[in-house]
């Protein structure tokens, strides 16, 4: 069930993965995640999605698309991470960031882009 949701949101077929690890070799946020990009792919494939949903790593993906660009098999791990994150939001209505937290994080030069993107990525 959950696997179908992830597949529908992401449009990614994790079976295309050949376990080369180039995504994890490319990822700039690797050390910030407890599950790494290649694990996202294999865990989605084996159905361990709840564990991923509980992980903080889904909020550390930078959406830099290096994994998508360099994947030799066109698997697009970043889409899977995004899909898991959305699954969390849609299932539990859980927000990682609340509007109340924002003011204390702001500095006066911070571009709007940062705020908008933070809301898009971390809250609904």
């Amino acid at each position: 069930m959950l696997m179908d949701t992830i597949a529908a949101i992401s449009g990614v077929n994790p079976r295309k993965c050949m376990r080369c690890g180039k995504c994890s070799g490319s990822c700039p946020a690797y050390d910030e995640m407890e599950y790494h990009p290649h694990q996202f792919v294999s865990m989605v494939e084996s159905g361990r999605i709840e564990e991923l949903m509980a992980s903080k790593g889904i909020y550390t993906c930078l959406s830099c698309f290096a994994c998508i660009e360099r994947c030799p098999r066109s698997v697009e791990p970043a889409r899977l991470i995004e899909a898991v994150r959305l699954a969390v939001i849609r299932q539990q209505g859980k927000n990682h960031l609340t509007p109340e937290q924002i003011p204390q994080l702001l500095d006066e030069d911070l571009p709007q882009q940062a705020i908008t993107s933070a809301f898009r990525k971390y809250k609904r």
């Binding site: 830099c64 660009e69 899909a83 994080l105 571009p111 709007q112 908008t116 993107s117 898009r120």
Partner: protein, 263 residues
């Protein structure tokens, strides 16, 4: 010829002077930009989810509006470019998204991704031409060693954006040459600076940004230029400041001698 222009949230507010430089330079180079009416923020993040429609709507509105105004839409910000171009691609190639968005928007004429999304740099390269730009430069930045910082959003995923070679881009280097300076090529120029997490996880964003600045400096860069306001912020605020970071339009305005008028 006048181009429809999408300024985006940041350049409209915090980055207003970067936007002003860009517009002035465009005017001077013969492609005046005209802000499209009633635009809304693109969302700053491309909705990766295939089943999300709402987050695509504002982009489609802007794209559909420019369809009527010559079929091109110019942006100055990498993020806007990224979002608009990919949403446009969805409208062209993804039947499901196209159908849902069109049903929702109820435009007079359904939108099929006809508009061509252009980054300002692409207009410089393809419409103005580097040689022509070189001729228009009155104050060449001779002797300055400048590193181009591309970041992520301009280049990746190349299959959808097709902006430049994602691993060995050259457009900003060509730009640097055209304004009389010397480009410094360094490998981290297309690595992520972590800008999106600058609020969330500042330590991390700082670490990543510093790595990039170090690599650029070690390769001989005395200055970095970017096409993304968020990258610019992150590389300026969250590093040791050893290499100044500018927006490319600032240097363009300077090279064209438009700075004084700017005040």
């Amino acid at each position: 010829m006048t181009y429809p222009y999408f300024p985006g949230c940041t350049l409209k507010t915090k980055g207003a002077e970067l936007d002003a430089c860009g517009r002035k330079a465009a005017e001077a180079l013969g492609f005046p930009l005209e802000e499209i009416p009633d635009w809304q923020c693109c969302g700053a993040v491309y909705p990766l989810a295939k089943d999300e429609i709402a987050t695509r709507l504002s982009s489609v509105r802007a794209l559909a509006a420019s369809r009527e105004q010559g079929g091109k839409l110019v942006t100055l910000c990498s993020a806007c470019y990224h979002v608009l171009k990919r949403v446009n691609g969805d409208m062209r190639n993804d039947d499901d998204i196209r159908r849902k968005v069109n049903n929702y928007l109820e435009l007079e004429l359904p939108y099929f991704g006809e508009t061509k999304v252009l980054h300002y740099l692409e207009v410089l390269r393809d419409t103005v031409g580097w040689d022509e730009l070189k001729k228009k430069v009155t104050k060449p930045l001779t002797g300055r060693k400048i590193g181009a910082y591309y970041g992520c959003l301009l280049l990746r995923p190349s299959r959808e954006l097709g902006f430049d070679d994602p691993e060995n881009p050259s457009i900003i280097e060509d730009f640097i040459r055209a304004i009389g300076a010397e480009p410094v090529i360094y490998a981290m120029r297309n690595e992520c600076c972590g800008g999106y997490t600058t609020m969330e996880n500042n330590t991390y964003a700082a670490k990543q940004a510093q790595k990039i600045v170090d690599n650029a400096r070690n390769c001989g860069a005395e200055m970095l230029i970017t096409a993304c306001p968020l990258c610019m912020y992150n590389l300026t605020k969250n590093t040791d400041g050893s290499v100044p970071v500018k927006y490319f339009t600032e240097l363009l305005a300077e090279a064209l001698g438009l700075e004084e008028q700017n005040g």
